[in-house]
Symmetry: D3
Subunit: 128 residues, 6 copies
């Protein structure tokens, strides 16, 4: 069930999504996430539409969006997502210095999140 579906083997319905992914990203290949999702065309279509809407142009710039994505993926320990969105972030201009800061913040937030839980902190009224 996990074999990626290559373009040549894809149905017309799936190719429409693949074509839009490549056109939107200005690339000539599709990564495994989409090629495995393609076993269930409704999910492929829905996830691509969602991805375009959420990760597309908006009030946050493209690189910032990737950094948020990375922060989630690292916190969840998703190796695939770290690799794919790390590549996306570099393509959008992430520098080694910015990457180092990103990693440091993710680490710190995971640390203080647990301090907050362990110390059973009450939310300050100034934050309510």
């Amino acid at each position: 069930m996990r074999t990626p579906i290559e373009y040549v083997d894809a149905s017309a319905e799936v190719r429409v999504v693949y074509d839009d992914i490549m056109a939107t990203r200005k690339t000539d290949w599709i990564n495994n996430y989409w090629k495995v999702l393609a076993h269930h065309p409704p999910t492929l279509r829905r996830m691509w539409a969602t991805s375009k809407e959420v990760m597309g142009p908006g009030a946050l710039d493209a690189l910032t969006k990737e950094l948020v994505y990375m922060a989630v993926s690292v916190t969840n320990g998703c190796a695939y997502c770290i690799a794919s969105h790390g590549a996306a972030a570099r393509k959008k201009g992430l520098t080694p210095e910015q990457h180092a800061e990103l990693v440091a913040i993710i680490g710190l937030a995971n640390e203080t999140n647990r301090h907050a839980a362990a110390l059973e902190l009450q939310i300050d009224e100034q934050f309510l």
Copy 2:
């Protein structure tokens, strides 16, 4: 063990940290995280030094750093951290539109992270 230590009750050692927090943040109050951490001065001192280094000026701007922090805190479900860093982000200029996009990206990344796990995805060689 969880009672916040107020400034008037704090030791000289703790007050030095409190003073630096207020001066750095240009505020006249301290939130509960630091006031509870103050029961163990070495941890208070270390965490504040770490926080200043990691969250201070660098290659990523101040608001972006807060968004990364929020992404981690939401993924971990840390209510205290969401409240405190949500306030920090708004203070640094987060707009309602940006907040809505942030929430949408965090949600999407948590969704696709699980798709990647469930589908047992292989990392594409292009990402290695």
Copy 3:
């Protein structure tokens, strides 16, 4: 400490559990989880007894139980558990269409769980 203990090398105490696993599952082999757990016979015995009680016949049917197990394992990103319980679910009749829906629900729930945290939702009184 992590070498699986094969049947031929197992003590009588461990073989009793292995025999029951194979008889209960109507198979002639044991998967690594049990063979590594076998280094500590009390844990092997306890976990097998628990597994039989919790995953055995009850008010929920066998396939539904596996789907719940999968939902947890995917959320935790446990590759071993996803592989082993995925196999168990297919053996109990999971179809590709059902699998696709399962993956979609797991993804959606992980997404909305974070929306709920990020938006600091109050529980509606109708749910209390």
Copy 4:
């Protein structure tokens, strides 16, 4: 930013979604998740469309879908989601006995997921 938007205060765009939620669910009220999401109409619309597609009629029955949702929500410790989907599951027929079994399976899977990590298990070739 977190105040729920009531029907009387909602824009026409938001009311369309609210109306569809109530019609689909055959209820006369909307829970806080949607009323807070309504601050960002594109997200409200997208999440409701996704929810209808993923949780609607399919290869898995309605109650099973809720159980999977619960398994994720409990694993993530999302109190709001546990309350809201617990109510949904009861409405769809979940019995106390089934609920008790659900809770036991979720607990067991979380336990064995960590055993698998701690014991650094190799995936059996039979599962590949």
Copy 5:
């Protein structure tokens, strides 16, 4: 379904477990975990037997066992478990200084766990 079942309202079957909990712990009351679990006597009985076996005398001392329990509970953000096992740890001799170190280690491990994920570390051959 969540109302705690008090001793006076409990069946004989449940009272046997309650009596053993109080005798084992040398206390005259039962905490909510067991009183809510009591709605499903087989789970109550199984979890108490498991708890006695796992948390009882062994190769690790009683306080160390509680610290491990706390580390898990804090990492998962389980407020109930942090409160109940924090009390148990104090009863078994946890000092404020030890508690502060425990919190610091839990925080640090959560931080470095994410560094390891973000940096896509290869396991050193010396650790294999």
Copy 6:
């Protein structure tokens, strides 16, 4: 960005930290965590200082500290951390029997943490 930096290729600034790691641990090699962190010297320096302070001599003994570290790493499913801190724990005297108990407690705590969430437990007043 993830290539480990070997001693011979390291800057003087990085070698100072490497030397201190080897001297403190009484070993003649450095594991990948530090060698990859070395791409960003400020983070390398800060994390090593933190590690020495948190994991060094204190109110909890060295082995107990490693067990807490393991409990977090297993709960987060961090394979690298489980391998490296498992080795550290064995070096500090962890016996196979103690390891088996550790694994059992981690599993049990993850199980009961989810029971607590699923059953929406109220914290007993005795724990407040």
